[in-house]
Amino acid sequence: MKGFWARFERNRAAVFGFSVLVIVLAVAAVGPFLYPVDPWELAGRPFSPPFGRFPLGTDTLGRDLAAGLVHGARISLMMGLVATAMAVLIGTVVGAIAGYRGGWVDDALMRCTEFFQTIPSFIFAVVLVAIFQPSIESIVAAIAMVSWPTLARLVRGEFIALRHREFVQACVALGMPERSIIFRQVLPNAAGPVIVTGSLMVATAILLESGLSFLGLGDPNLMSWGFMIGSSRTVLRQAWWMSAIPGVAILLTVLAINLVGEGLNDALNPRLPR
């Protein structure tokens, strides 16, 4: 663990990303308590500019933008994390079985993975959410559905590289059940790349979610950053900051996660050339 931190710390960009991420996480966790304003409440005069009575101004209906930003942090991170967790779960199971078993199982699972990879992901997500009506569940499921193939291919590759190693043969000789070999013995050895890719996938998931809610396919009960941009884009000429501010929040969060992901890559796979 100490060696891990030392290696992570050497990447200054990753440390910067980590600090930004900690701030966003803190805002998501305690922000709504420290800034207890309902993001849907019509708090004041519409179109108030930032740095007045409201720290970031109000939107077209007079809702407090700062409150929206704080609540949006929670939604964006939560959606990103849950969707990625689901995608990692599906991708790991599919990739592990395909890579370990090989043969026709591998062929079938990989055809399936390639199939899902061919479908244009964002359009697919739009279709899924449109069909099942926008809600947290449908959005998270749609993002997971379009994200898992990358991970399945990665895990499969790792498993193919590992499955003929001696420790696996030893487990087979000991009569260990296949499920334990796959998930208890081989998978931990593939954890590094999975963690790195998974962390980068959170960033992609947040971008996907913001794109969906920008199009009006967000959960109608949740204030999200993409929705804030989408709802104020018609007044760009009068009030550009309404669209600009939530976008900066998305940009910083996604950038921070990407930087942390790269730092993790350097720290977890120190032998890889940069």
Binding site: T118, P120, A130, F132, W240, G247
Partner: protein
């Protein structure tokens, strides 16, 4: 038959089951949608008469068993019948085909811009590795990589259209101008600049990073050493020897990104009111014209399959070892 042609034929055959699979998948989605499949096919348009609904039911055999329905659906798809959009009062396919050129123009421009920009910046960064130039390029790539595409489009509008007044914000041509020939082309080009820049930005970042890494890797190979030993100038080594081989991963990536770019164009076309497939997808979401939306999904999936095929062929031309093996 030449090995390349045989290779192309084999790839084409492999694409057939994928396209069929996509049609089956579309059929499943159609049936997963809440409500009666006939009402989905009718685009949930309120004005559809009961007679029309029953005709739709008969057309798609919706009163028969599910496997039978699938067969009928596939028959329709194979004969290029994607159904009828009652909102737009035309067939889905003709609607898609009238919107396709605008999207292809946008994607083509963005593709050219991103490859050109990415290769240029990547080569520049790799030749000046670990200098301030490399760092500036890396920061630019990192930022562009993390930027929501629709947001940067809006910010471009704020800067270039509202503040500077240089470029139009909306559409593909000035409405009602009725220009033709070169004047029209110029008008479209002016409207194209911002959407193409917006769509390209993410890929410029992607290709820059890829190109930089790929150049650095090729630089370590022995044949570059021999070129240096021969006393060739550095610029010649970079462009004649390293660049060509370093381009291969970029070509693969460009092919793989077509589907991703189609998704991006939904957002970009929505922001800029560009009258292409993406804008059509957005409109069909709002009108709840799910059949049109599913038609778009199927069509764009097929586009991706075609793009992958073309990429494979281009790759086999660039790297003949692929087709032979």
């Amino acid at each position: 038959m030449s090995p390349r042609l045989r290779y192309a034929g084999r790839r084409l055959l492999l694409a057939v089951p994928i396209v069929l699979g996509m049609a089956v998948f579309n059929f499943l989605l159609l049936h997963l949608a809440p409500g009666d499949a006939a009402s989905v096919l009718a685009g949930e348009a309120g004005g559809v008469t009961p007679e029309l609904m029953s005709q739709l039911r008969a057309d798609f055999g919706l009163d028969r068993s599910l496997p039978m329905q699938l067969l009928i659906y596939l028959q329709h798809v194979v004969s290029l019948d994607l159904g009828f959009s009652f909102r737009h009062r035309t067939s889905v396919l003709s609607l898609i085909l009238t919107r396709l050129p605008a999207t292809l123009l946008l994607m083509g421009a963005a593709l050219a811009l991103s490859v050109l920009g990415g290769v240029l910046l990547g080569v520049l960064a790799a030749r000046r590795v670990n200098t301030w130039m490399d760092n500036v390029i890396s920061v630019f790539a990192l930022l562009s990589y993390a930027t929501p595409i629709f947001w940067i489009g809006l910010m471009f509008i704020v800067l270039f259209s509202i503040h500077l007044g240089w470029l139009p914000t909306h559409g593909m041509a000035v409405a009602g101008a009725g220009t033709t020939g070169w004047a029209h082309a110029l008008d479209v080009a002016r409207h194209l600049i911002l959407p193409a820049m917006t769509l390209a930005l993410f890929y410029v970042a992607l290709y820059t990073r890829l190109m930089r890494a790929s150049m650095l890797e090729v630089y370590t190979l022995d044949y570059v050493q021999s070129a240096r030993a021969k006393g060739l100038p550095e610029g010649r080594i970079a462009f004649k020897h390293v660049l060509r081989n370093a381009l291969l991963p970029v070509v693969t990536m460009v092919g793989l990104q077509v589907g991703h770019m189609l998704g991006g164009s939904v957002l970009v076309e929505t922001v800029f009111g560009w009258p292409g497939l993406g804008r059509l997808a957005f409109e069909s979401v709002f009108a709840r014209d799910l059949n049109l939306l599913l038609g778009l999904l199927l069509f764009s999936s097929v586009l991706v399959v075609i793009a992958n095929l073309v990429t494979d062929l281009v790759y086999s031309v660039l790297d003949p070892r692929i087709a032979v093996s």
